[in-house]
């Protein structure tokens, strides 16, 4: 029994001392590990700085950083949605980075006006549809999706997903809450089924004949077309929704340096790296997202989709209106 106690104490004290004394940076990432790992590996190799990674949902990371307070060990917060960036910034979690390099790299639309966070990649929320059952001429902007002609034809994931919440927030910003609510209500009426599964499941459901039109993030369909299973998706068309009033809804994944970052120099270096050409290329070739930095090479499939016209909305609206968007979704019964 005594020996067990000693062993116990030894192992426990080992935990205490696993604090690495080497150069490091602490990254809180809402991006899943296997997606961010390739970038981290390259960074570590090039700079010798060890990256300590915690992944969780953005909201959980946010909560943890807030609770940890000024002694929080977090250096960089990485999220996959502009609304989350806004929220963290508004709470005062980020500190300004005065870097001409960063400012020159990306368009002002893709970074915080006060330089508290920086976009890293873009994605669009687009329509994927069945070539057999949908005529492209039927498709207009997002607002048109509430038209009764689409009854029982629309597939979309749950409103609890951040991407939909940002889309709804966008609609509120564009059309006002009343009109947006009306739109959402009618949209729910057009659902082919109660929201189930993720974006890819909506695409699969079109192939299965459960619905005709799916609203998904751009990189998913491109990934699927790039995979071994692309035959299943032969009969699918891709459309970037836009009309006279509203362009394509895009979202930004980005990062910011945290206010109390203990390793703020390393944190800055990490953010710089993520905006480097090498990293941006990985974003576009590995994940099929759109780079934020101009003139980065994009893979064939992305090129093939062509350019699209983004809506000119200030993406900070996603964050500002997210709570109202969530409540609106609840009210109209978008599960």
């Amino acid at each position: 029994m005594k020996k067990l106690n000693i062993l116990f104490v030894v192992i426990l004290s080992l935990f205490f001392f696993t604090k690495a004394w080497s150069d490091e940076v602490n990254l809180y990432s809402a991006r899943k590990e296997h997606l961010i790992k390739p970038l981290i590996n390259i960074f570590e190799k090039e700079t010798g700085i060890k990256v300590n990674l915690v992944t969780a949902k953005a909201a959980q990371l946010y909560e943890r950083i807030v609770r940890e307070g000024k002694n929080s060990p977090a250096d960089v917060l990485l999220t996959t949605d502009a609304g989350n960036l806004w929220k963290a910034s508004k709470q005062g979690l980020f500190q300004k980075i005065n870097s001409d390099y960063l400012i020159s790299r990306i368009d002002s639309r893709y970074r915080d006006p006060e330089n508290k966070w920086f976009g890293l990649s873009l994605r669009a929320r687009i329509i994927v549809y069945s070539l057999d059952r949908v005529d492209q001429n039927e498709l207009r902007g997002y607002k048109y999706l509430s038209d009764p002609r689409f009854k029982n034809r629309i597939l979309i994931r749950s409103s609890s997903n951040i991407y939909n919440q940002s889309l709804i927030a966008h609609m509120i910003a564009k059309y006002g809450e009343e009109v947006a609510e009306e739109w959402a209500e009618k949209l729910v009426n057009n659902f082919a089924r109660s929201p189930a599964g993720g974006d890819r499941d909506q695409i699969k459901a079109i192939a299965a004949g459960e619905g005709d039109i799916a609203i998904v993030n751009s990189y998913y369909i491109i990934q699927m077309l790039n995979s071994d299973k692309k035959k299943i998706f032969n009969n699918l068309g891709i459309y970037f929704p836009r009309d006279k009033e509203m362009g394509v809804h895009i979202n930004i994944s980005g990062a910011g340096l945290l206010q109390n970052a203990p390793n703020h120099k390393n944190g800055k270096q990490l953010i710089n790296f993520l905006l480097s050409d090498k990293a941006q290329k990985i974003y576009s070739f590995n994940n099929f997202e759109y780079p934020v930095v101009k003139n980065i090479e994009i893979p064939k499939l992305l090129k093939y989709l062509g350019n699209f016209k983004e809506d000119d909305i200030d993406t900070s609206e996603y964050g500002r209106l997210s709570k109202r968007a969530i409540k609106l979704a609840d009210r109209v019964g978008w599960q």
């Binding site: 499941d201 969530i326 609840d330």
Partner: protein, 537 residues
Amino acid sequence: MINYLKHGWGLFSVLLCLTVIIPISTIIFFFLIPGDETWIHLRDNVLNSYISNSLYLMIFVGGGSIIIGSITAWLVAMYDFPFKKYLEWLLFMPLAIPSYAVAYCYADLLGYGGFITNNLGLIFNSNIKSINFYSIYGAVFVFIFSLYPYVYLLMRQAFISQSSAYIEIAKISGLNLLQIIRKICLPLSRPALAGGVTLVIMETLADYGVSDYLGINTFTKGIYKAWFNLGDITSAGKLSAILLFTVAIIIIIERKLRGKAQYNNEVRSNRVLQLKKLHGFTAILALFICIIPVIIGFIIPLITLISWSIESIDIIYTLEFINVAISSFGIAFFASLLCALFALIIVFGMRTNPKLVNPFARIASLGYSIPGAVAAIGVLIPLVWLDNTINNISLKYFNYSTGLIITGTWFGLLFAYLVRFLALSMQAVENSFIKISKSIDYAARILGKSNRKILTSIHIKIGWGGISLGLLIVFVDVLKELPATMILRPFGLSTLAIKAHELAIDERLYDASIPLLTIIFLCLIPLYFLTKVIRQE
């Protein structure tokens, strides 16, 4: 005459309980703050669907697991039929597979391009391209077949240990089989049934992975949404409190159903039940009934996962996974030890000083009903306070900033596991201590042993079977735990469960199969010991 020695043990137990109660009460504290408009919004729009979904789950999952668990337990305890020797322990194997893994498997098998849908078309000549598993029906299905073993294990134990005398009396009195079951076996096994179903329901209510993946709006979902998305801690606290309240009611009902059953086992007066051998049709029927849950809950998911893993054996993954697997194993091991240690002290405190310790112990057990993420936040707040206090003191006196030394380390996570799983350990220890007659305590005290000696030299040694069962159950549950781990884990620590969940959500099910299979493999180790215990009986 105040005698600290007498109350010392009790006070120590209460202290341990308090460490667990503090996070629980931190959550409830928010319940007391008046609700704002977010709460009103939740109350008006989604509270009803949370309640109805949760009720629906409770009723149907509870009912389904009672039926499957009791019938299989009855067959296995009372009869002998071909392969029963194997089925006896195969029937609780679904415990090795996390319920969210079952969800991943069936969602894929029944979805578009899934194995079952493809072949169903051939068998039934139908045009079904996919079955929508992402619904509450899917969730009910998953929970029933992954949680029924709790009922099975407890009922089997109850049926085996019931005295054959009762049944023989009933037979002589002319009762037929159904009447015997209804009038004697079921009432006698009521405590076990109540205990098993309570476990099933609490696991269902606290679940995160399945409802997240299948898109079900449950209380847990609502709590997450309120806390993390709407940023309203008060509403999350209120929802948590409602959940806690519901669970408290369930526990009270369970105790009433348990009645005042005394478990003191007089080995001399118990005759072992003679198993009736089944032949022909009835034997095949029994075999069939018992093997179906095993196939649905264990074999199909296992084979599915194995077939997926073949497609993605990746050397790089394997190397990294050994690291992750060791972390998972290590933390589960320490968590189960910690829970067992606390449970032993507290339950022994309940035994020696019931009036003082019982109320605190009961509240501490409520931690099991708190969803993981809520427990994590509940733990985070006092730990951060403690960390900041230590930091301030050290700044003041030593001019040295210690930073966060408890939160964000193993301790924080272990603490959350303790809050979450202490009830399991306590339950196991209580069950094993209940068989030890009080006279043994008295005899040892009279012979000069202090409380600590009595606990270590007698109770632990006699009750070791039950205690180790508790260790194993906590180990398995910590391995599978998801939300609290995600929030509280220290840097560089990933667990198999987190890896699997991230991959699955990202629809990389083939890759998710490797960590899942590792979890299952690690879970099988303690379950193997359980089979040994069962075969010894």
